[in-house]
C-alpha cells in the first residue's frame, strides 16, 4: 500500500540558518523540503550551480545534494515550479575572523578605540566580500532565473561593525544583482540591530523557531508564498514525495 504525501510548498536551501526558517514553515503549516549544508561547504565552493543539472555538490557535499534529490524524488534542484527560500551566500563566520584578526575595522568608533587597528574603506570591504561571495551571488541569480527565489538574510547576532557592514554589504550586492531579498532581522529589530535574545537559539549563533516563524510570516506577508489556510493541519515534516509501506 502506498501513501500519497502532498508535495512541498517550497524548498528551503541554505546553511545552518535554514533550520530556523524550516521550523518557521512548520509552525505556519507550510510544507517544505530542506537542504541545509554546512556554511563551510558553501564557503569552500563545494556547492555549485550547473547550467543543466542545477545545484550540484562536490566532494563532501555531493552525497548530501544527491541524497536530498533522491529523497524528494527531484530530478534536479531547483525543482520546476517549486519556489526556493534561500539562505546562503553570507557565511560570515568563515570570513570575518580572518578579516579582523589583525585589527581591520570598518567603523570609525572601533578604529578610534584601538590604536593597533587598521581602518578599512567601504570599497575595500566590498571588494574583499565580493572575492569570497560573488560565486554565491551568481548562483542566486541563476536560481532566480529558473524558479521564484527569495534570499532570506541571516539574522544579525552581533552589532560589531565588521559583522554589520559585511552582512549589509553582501545583502546590498545581492540586491544590486537583482535578487529578491528579505531581511527579517531588520524588520524585527531595526536596521543594523542584533536579533533580540528571545529569538535566539541556545548556541547564540542562530535564530530559534520563534524567529523562524516571524521570518516566514514576513515572507508570506511579502507575497512570496501563499499563507496556508487557517484550518490546515500541520503535516509532519515533508520527507519524500511517495512513501511505500
Amino acid at each position: 500500500m502506498s501513501i500519497e504525501v502532498a508535495p512541498p510548498d517550497a524548498i528551503v536551501l541554505g546553511d545552518s540558518h535554514a533550520i530556523a526558517l524550516q521550523e518557521g514553515c512548520d509552525r505556519l503549516g507550510l510544507r517544505t523540503a530542506i537542504l541545509s549544508l554546512s556554511g563551510n561547504f558553501w564557503h569552500m565552493g563545494l556547492v555549485r550551480f550547473n547550467p543543466s543539472r542545477g545545484i550540484v555538490g562536490r566532494g563532501a557535499a555531493q552525497a548530501r545534494v544527491n541524497g536530498f534529490k533522491a529523497q524528494n524524488g527531484f530530478e534536479k534542484l531547483p525543482h520546476p515550479g517549486l519556489p526556493v527560500i534561500a539562505t546562503f551566500g553570507f557565511h560570515l563566520g568563515r570570513i570575518l575572523p580572518m578579516f579582523g584578526i589583525d585589527g581591520h575595522r570598518t567603523r570609525q568608533e572601533e578604529f578610534d578605540a584601538d590604536c593597533g587597528a587598521h581602518f578599512v574603506s567601504r570599497g575595500m570591504m566590498r571588494a574583499y566580500a565580493r572575492a569570497f561571495r560573488q560565486a554565491h551571488i551568481d548562483m542566486l541569480k541563476r536560481l532566480s532565473r529558473q524558479v521564484p527565489t527569495l534570499l532570506v538574510a541571516p539574522p544579525l547576532m552581533s552589532e560589531e561593525g565588521n559583522m554589520v557592514d559585511f552582512r549589509n554589504g553582501i545583502l546590498a550586492m545581492m540586491q544590486e544583482a537583482g535578487i529578491a531579498t528579505l531581511d527579517p532581522c531588520a524588520e524585527i529589530a531595526g536596521t543594523g540591530r542584533a536579533l533580540p535574545d528571545a529569538l535566539r537559539a541556545p548556541d547564540n549563533n542562530h535564530g530559534n523557531a520563534d524567529y523562524g516563524a516571524l521570518a516566514v510570516e514576513l515572507l508570506c506577508g511579502a507575497g512570496f508564498i501563499a499563507r496556508p489556510e487557517a484550518d490546515a493541519v500541520q503535516p509532519a515534516r515533508f520527507r519524500s514525495a511517495r512513501r511505500t509501506t
Binding site: D15, S16, I19, Q22, I34, S36, L37, S38, G39, N40, G93, R94, I95, P97, M98, F99, G100, I101, D102, H104, Q108, F111, C115, A117, H118, F119, V120, S121, R122, G123, M124, A127, Y128, A131, A201, D203, N205, H206, A236, R237
Partner: protein
Amino acid sequence: MPQKTNPYSDLPQEAFWRSGVAEAGVFGLAGLWRSRWSLPQDARFSTYGSCFAQHISRALVERGLNWLNAEPAPRRTPHDLAREYNYGIFSARTGNVYTAAQLRLLLQLASGEVAPDAPEIWEENGRHFDSLRPAIEPGGFDSAREAILSRASMARAVARSVGRADVFVFTLGLTEGWENAETGQPYALCPGTLAGAFDAERHAFRNYGFARVEADMRAALALLRGLNPAIRVLLTVSPVPLTATASGGHVLVATTYSKSVLRAVAGELQAADEGVDYFPSYEIITGAPTRGAFYAPNLRSVEPVGVAQVMGHFFAGLRLDGAKAHEGGAAGPDEAADEAAVEAAMAAEELVCEEMVLEAFNEH
C-alpha cells in the same frame, strides 16, 4: 727606479677605474657597498620611497629578512586585490613617496605634528581622493571622512613601522613636485593628472634644490628619531628617470639635475651623520659599466636582471652579524599561530552548525 709613495699607492683595486670598473665588468663589480653598521641578525627594516623602493621591500621578503608590514591587507585577501589596494608594497599604505618634502609631511602626520584631516582631500564626481595618495584606492573613497580615516590609519602604521624598525630604508626619487601655492602642502602628483583638478593659481611647480632637499631630509631625520631614537636610516636614489619634466628643460637634462641633487644630499647626510648610510642602487643601474643595459626598451623601467644585480650588492654589503635583538625574531605577529587559533575556533563553530543540520532529521 723606486716606486714613489703617495696616497694612491696603497689603495685597493676597487679604488681605480681600470681595475675596479673597466676590467671587472658589470657583473664583476665588487665592494660597491658595505653597511656602516653591524646590524642584529634579526634586524627589522621598514621601506618607503619612490617606485624603485618596491623592489627593496620585495627582495627583503624573498630573502626571509624581517621586513615590517605595519599596515597589512586583511588576512586571506587575494594577492591581486591586495595589490590593487596598495597593500604590502611599502611598510604602510603610503603609495610612492617621491620627494623629501613628501617624506617630511608623512612623518609629521605619523608623529602627530600634522593632523590627519589637515592635508587636502580632493572631490571628483562624488568620489574622494587623498591628495597625498591619489591612487591608493581604485576609484577613490566614498566620502572625505573615509579618506581621512584611511590616511589616519596609514599615519599610525608609519609610526609603528618606524618605532619597531632597526633600519628605515628610503629611496629618494624626484626633486620636481607640486605644492599648494598658499599652504605649501606638497602633493604626490600634479593635481589634474591622476585625480583632482589643476588650478594654475593654487598649484605651484617646485624643483627643489639642494638646500631645500637637505632641509627637508634633516627635518625628516629629526622626526624619525622622535619616533625611534635608535633608528638608522639607509638612503638610496632611484635610478628610474623622470617620466616628464615641468622645468621647461629637456627631460634628460632635468633627470640628471634631479638625480644629482638627490645623490649629493644623500652623500652629505651620510658624511655628516653616523646614523645615515647610502646604498648605491643608482650607480649600479646607471653607471657606465652597464651601458644602459639594465633598462627596458623604454629606457626608463629597470629590468629584473638589473634589480637582481642591485639587490645582490645590497645583500653582499649588509652586515647582519650582530646578536639577535628581538624576542621571537619575527617582524610581525605570529601569523601562522594566529590563523591556527582562528581556524580551530571556526572549526568548533562549524561542528555546532553541522550538529544543528543533523538534528533537523531527528523526528523524535
